[in-house]
Symmetry: C2
Subunit: 414 residues, 2 copies
């Protein structure tokens, strides 16, 4: 069974926003065994939306439409859907009540356009939106399902989880889709492919392999699809058992549906250990990634972003003479930062980064892209130098990933 | 003139990655007067790619294809393009040399599959990739341009800026597209639309208006397109002159092609003033947003992410009795954090956040979503309490935006 996603809004096509809804939808659909055939982003334009709906109906069984449900004139999704289904808009009392409650909560005047949020196609099943005024709308045609949802990510996500997925499950019987992602480290994409070529050629047709290289790591993703869950699981297991001995030296683990920082969070919580961070070139990215996970307060004590050199001296007590003699991007400074932040925050682990993310050389002579990362524990401190290239964004992300990798190795050591 | 973007890769459709390339492309094309008609994300599947190419050729004059150019078997874009253009692959000596240089730099063995990166369609113009092995490829057909680019964001971005845009400019004469975005604050989308309805109805056909609500702000985006730059600029100016008096009480400025934190960075740099941050519930998000901008070291001294309550005491010297009597999410704690971080980092401004991002209540009795934000300057400290709802991600982002807004007001005061 296939789905198609249509995201509506000029703001997507002119690049004013990044469409993050589609990735969320892709993930959620895969979990219930539905493949996404295509994602199509179209303008707030009636003819264009109608064309996309028609094409999607040809390609897929489930069509999810996001965006264009606001109360203003540029939002035309609802009227266009009415036209597509040869339907008319009628007022829905429950939606009207929801709109009224939201406006009274914020003491905002309720205008006619707001009341129009309660107008829905007469043939639609209404999906109540807990976080906003635009309801979701479920339509059916020749056994195919069309669902129109607001484009605001948290409104859309809640509607998918609470309403759309349960309804789809009750309507259809889905095949099983299972992804297994193996993480490798320290080998290039093509060298890896060369090494496992014979194995890859022997994969059965219902299992696909993809190589996902990203900044120092290559993920191998096996995707299988079948109506028989047990057969699929067995076949995937057998294939992985064949593969593992061939990649044992570069294999670092399976990727769960979790980021590495979430996995670290789980491990620290289990071990009842804590972490603090001293960031220079990563500028808060490490702390931000950790605290994006609910429950981080159990294991994350805090971070010091000592961006200016003087802050490393004032706040982290890095000796001024070390900075003068070794430079601010050095083994010594990285290690002192890690040791001191660990002491300051009274944590089990202290990690630090100091480097030059570019674009120009900073208060050190280090080349753009040079980063020292250090880890301090009760038993000591160690560090390593990297060069992450000359693109600022890339340096920050690679340094963050690497710091998490080093930390995870350290946690698993014990 | 219209463009269409085709992004290729199963990883997009299963939601393993968010497609950020398309937003970048949308922005860059708009700058040169090319509208993006549609963004289509398709699978690594020959028939599907061929179908997308055919449809794009019907819709647009410029077709940009990203992804599927890696050396492994799942990457089939190059062969598929060859089939579409009835062409064959030939070895390109410059690309081969580039591949060899990259491999020798990293001391990696050069395999046959890597050498295949130098195979390009015989009819294509090669666009050299400075950051990777897969070249860009430029093909023409009936006056239409097809460009295939690697999906790795920094490789694609460099090829667009250095190669594709200059080539397009030399081949086509583009109309002018101008966007003006007005930022409003403190009024709902529909109340704003109601207020300016007569003005909106009077807009000429070549100027479109969009409302972009986002967490407390509504952006009004005027988009005009014309072959005559001067006429377009004049008309936009006249329309804005008509609009401004109607929204003066809620108008907070024009949005440049810059984030609010980048604008703050420019303002602080000009004034030669500095900033430090004490973050609790925003967990590093504020520091990360600031340091994403090159040159932040000129004005950003650093941040303390005092995530655990004890870190507020140990690291930021918040009196333990204040936390006990007023709670960790309180006016007093927020203000002390801002004052102390400003002193610790010796900066002109100190901003702080303390709150509960959820999902459960933390070490305070404050409701989920409650956030105190404080700003300290030489002349004193002030703070405000907010409630940003009960979705963790939203609370963090809204608190960050609000802190930047409060800071900007403070900077502009002087």
């Amino acid at each position: 069974m296939q789905a198609e996603i249509i995201t509506i809004g000029d703001e997507i096509l002119i690049g004013q926003i990044v469409d993050t809804n589609s990735a969320f939808l892709g993930k959620e659909f895969n979990k219930i065994g539905v493949s996404v055939y295509q994602i199509t982003s179209v303008q707030d334009d009636k003819a264009h939306i109608l064309k996309a709906l028609k094409e999607a109906e040809e390609n897929a069984d489930i069509i999810i439409i996001t965006g264009g449900l606001g109360p203003t004139k540029d939002d035309i999704t609802k009227q266009t859907i009415c036209e597509y289904f040869n339907d008319t808009l009628i007022e829905n009392k429950s939606v009207l009540k929801n709109v009224e409650q939201i406006f009274s909560k914020y003491n905002a005047p309720l205008l006619t356009v707001n009341k129009h949020q309660a107008l829905v196609p007469s043939k639609s099943k209404v999906l109540m939106n807990k976080y906003g005024t635009a309801p979701g709308m479920w339509m059916e045609k020749n056994g195919k399902v069309f669902v129109s949802l607001p484009g605001v990510p948290y409104e859309m996500k809640a509607l998918i989880k609470d309403e759309v997925i349960p309804l789809l499950r009750s309507k259809f019987k889905f095949p099983y889709i299972i992804h297994k992602t193996l993480l490798t480290y320290g080998i290039g994409e093509s060298a890896l492919a060369d090494r496992i070529e014979a194995w890859e050629d022997g994969l059965p047709g219902f299992i696909k392999l993809a190589y996902l290289p990203s900044l120092g790591r290559v993920r191998l993703r096996l995707s299988g699809k079948s109506n028989n869950k047990e057969t699929l699981e067995n076949e995937l297991k057998q294939q992985i058992d064949l593969l593992r001995p061939q990649i044992e030296d570069v294999f670092v683990g399976y990727e769960e549906d979790l980021s590495i920082e979430a996995v670290i969070g789980k491990q620290l919580t289990e071990k009842e250990e804590t972490l603090s961070v001293a960031e220079s070139c990563t500028g808060g990215q490490i702390a931000k990634a950790i605290t994006a996970n609910a429950g981080a307060s159990k294991y994350f004590k805090g971070s010091i972003v000592s961006y200016a050199t003087e802050s490393k001296i004032n706040v982290l007590n890095v000796p001024e003479e070390d900075i003068a003699s070794k430079s601010v991007v050095s083994k010594e400074v990285a290690e002192t930062m890690a040791v001191n932040v660990r002491q300051l925050f009274k944590s089990d682990y202290g990690i630090s980064t100091t480097g030059n993310a570019g674009p120009s050389k900073g208060e050190s002579d280090a080349d753009v892209g040079t980063v020292w990362i250090a880890i301090a524990t009760q038993s000591g401190v160690h560090s390593k130098e990297y060069n992450f290239g000359n693109l600022r964004e890339k340096v920050i992300i690679r340094a963050t990933n690497k710091a998490f990798e080093m930390l995870q190795k350290e946690i698993l050591k014990k």
